[in-house]
């Protein structure tokens, strides 16, 4: 009940973030239901479809966990600790509030799905959804509910396990070689599978995992570049902050890079060999994944901002003008863009080469 109270009492911006999680959960839940309906109608080739549908689900869970971390209600607070609500209790509260948001999303997904199939009386859009969602066949209810509970359960468990565990600072640059190696393996698998091959999802997954793993290293390298060679206050603040926050910012950045790479690959000739694994919903599913990745990066940026409140106050004490901090933030964003865009484009070119070569 405490989790609900904390949830209810928070500021509009925090509620907006939770709403975003609910919307993402609704989107991925709808996709899972669609895959289920497809599998019931056409069992052949349903397994790869399910695998592809897991990608937006993973992005949603990632977003939910990062949002739980930024949630002011779930961070250890002096007053809460004093009344006996330590980190463990708050981890539980984080899990509950995440589960509530995701369950809400899943419920919306189910309602929308049933409504589009015409199961709730009345058929919207002249029955356009009915054919797409195989309204003529009964929906296996147990399977549908199992799939829908996947998002809340996974997100809540991950939030509880990850969101408030005591974190030891990891060396961000350490992931870079592993990430590059993994992405190279992924490219090799893609090349081996060829367009439309069965190992294609595995190849893409390896490449994406490699990029996500390399993300912190990339961000760290960006920071190192920005503050290199006799920096003034601006470059020093921008670069060092980026280096310091690379572990937090890097993973969502890597995931967004992976999504961007897939987008560029799909736009290049050869379409990245993906085709349309989710039928007419491929586009929306892809958009959902990219939006989730972008929102996750934003949530990470919010987390970084929260954690740097003390530094901002210290700089204000020194009389550092606010413009220095704002310009430093702009420099950071520009540096990240300048490194990540070429990386995305390069990897996308390599995948298209691997698939056509």
């Amino acid at each position: 009940m405490l989790a609900l109270r904390l949830t209810r009492g928070s500021r509009p911006l925090v509620q907006l973030r939770r709403l975003l999680v609910a919307a993402a959960a609704a989107g991925s839940g709808f996709l899972l239901l669609y895959v289920l309906a497809e599998a019931a109608a056409r069992p052949a080739g349903s397994f790869p479809r399910l695998l592809w549908a897991l990608l937006p689900l993973a992005a949603t869970v990632h977003l939910a966990v990062r949002t739980a971390r930024t949630d002011p209600a779930t961070r250890p607070r002096e007053g809460m600790d004093a009344v006996g609500l330590g980190p463990l209790h708050l981890a539980l509260a984080a899990a509950v509030s995440t589960a509530v948001a995701c369950t809400l999303g899943s419920a919306v997904a189910l309602a929308a799905f049933l409504h589009l199939r015409g199961n709730l009386g009345g058929l919207p859009f002249d029955g356009a959804g009915a054919a797409l969602l195989h309204a003529d066949r009964p929906l296996p209810l147990a399977a549908a509910l199992t799939l829908l509970s996947l998002t809340p359960l996974a997100a809540a468990a991950a939030a509880a396990a990850l969101a408030l565990r005591p974190r030891t600072p990891a060396a961000p640059a350490a992931g870079l070689p592993w990430g590059i190696a993994l992405a190279a393996c992924g490219l090799a698998v893609l090349g081996h599978a060829g367009p439309g091959g069965r190992a294609l999802p595995a190849g893409w997954a390896l490449t994406a995992a490699g990029l996500a793993l390399a993300g912190p290293g990339l961000a760290y390298a960006c920071g190192a570049l920005v503050q290199a060679v006799r920096p003034g206050a601006l470059r020093l603040l921008a670069g060092r902050t980026l280096q310091e926050e690379a572990p937090r910012l890097g993973r969502p950045l890597g995931v967004l890079c992976a999504a961007g790479t897939a987008a560029i690959a799909a736009a290049l000739p050869g379409r990245g060999g993906i085709g349309a694994p989710l039928g007419p919903l491929t586009g929306p599913a892809f958009a959902l994944t990219v939006l989730c990745a972008a929102a996750t990066l934003l949530a990470a940026a919010v987390e970084v901002r929260q954690s740097r409140a003390a530094s901002r106050a210290a700089l204000a004490d020194l009389g550092a003008p606010g413009s220095v901090l704002r310009t430093a933030a702009t420099v950071r964003a520009a540096a990240l863009l300048a490194v990540c865009l070429p990386v995305c484009w390069g990897v996308a070119r390599l995948t298209s080469l691997a698939l056509t070569g």
Partner: protein, 249 residues
């Protein structure tokens, strides 16, 4: 509204400030002479920090005047006050407040770097100050690797590095043990005297205040010497706290 005499680097006239309704300071006047070390003393909650913030241009008093070097600080805009703090004032608080991602010398050089000094000059000056404060060997470490005392000395170096006109020290020895406390105070006062820097030092303990040239005792946001300060609960009036306390718990 008349500028104070030249011998006073900093001057406040009946300054009032309240934090969103809760009382801060009421009617405090003080003149700080050039190069002196002034201690503002009083128990916790007596308005020492608020007075320092008003004098240092971080808070604008609701009522009253603050003058620095013949310039009215109370009527300055936010930007001008920022610049004044950056160029002419130094600040050291009870917490070192060093930026964790910068090394110790970069932290110490921050006021110079923010003011646009060249990297090389800033580094040299900062390292000189760190040497003077006996932590030159730690210049390349991160603040996380420092002890409380070392971090506080680094913060002192940051407050002095640009040789400001006034250093505001708000309970700078609060987190330290006695030996380190004496050391930091001696360093602060010696550095201030040899460089002609004025120091306004807030402290609640007598020993610290003894290092100053002059004391301004505060009580409940007023000068303690002021007979109206104690109000109805003054000693000899009624037994302490009886009139004020009508709560039963």
């Amino acid at each position: 509204m008349e500028a104070p005499p030249d011998s006073d680097v900093l001057c406040a006239r009946s300054v009032h400030y309240s934090h969103d309704g809760s009382p801060g300071i009421a009617g405090v006047s003080v003149a700080v002479r050039r190069g002196e070390v002034l201690a503002v003393t009083g128990p916790r909650g007596s308005g020492k920090t608020t007075l320092l913030h008003c004098l240092g241009g971080r808070l604008v008093p609701r009522d009253g005047e603050v003058w620095f070097d013949g310039v009215p600080v109370h009527s300055m805009g936010a930007l001008a006050r920022e610049r004044l703090r950056r160029d002419r004032f130094g600040w050291i608080g009870p917490e070192p407040a060093l930026l964790p991602e910068l090394t110790v010398w970069e932290n110490a050089a921050l006021p110079l770097l923010v003011a646009g000094t060249a990297h090389r000059t800033a580094k040299r000056t900062a390292c000189e100050w760190l040497d003077r404060l006996d932590i030159g060997g730690l210049a390349r470490r991160r603040p996380g690797a420092l002890t409380r005392a070392e971090a506080q000395r680094a913060a002192l170096a940051r407050a002095l590095v640009h040789e400001p006109a006034v250093v505001f020290a708000d309970e700078p020895t609060a987190p330290l043990h006695r030996a380190e406390r004496a050391m930091l105070l001696r360093t602060l006062t010696t550095a201030a005297r040899s460089h002609g820097i004025t120091v306004v030092l807030a402290s609640h303990d007598e020993e610290t205040a003894a290092a100053a040239d002059r004391c301004l005792p505060l009580l409940d946001g007023r000068p303690a010497a002021d007979p109206t300060a104690a109000g109805p609960g003054a000693p000899g009036d009624t037994p302490e706290g009886q009139a004020a306390c009508s709560l039963s718990a």
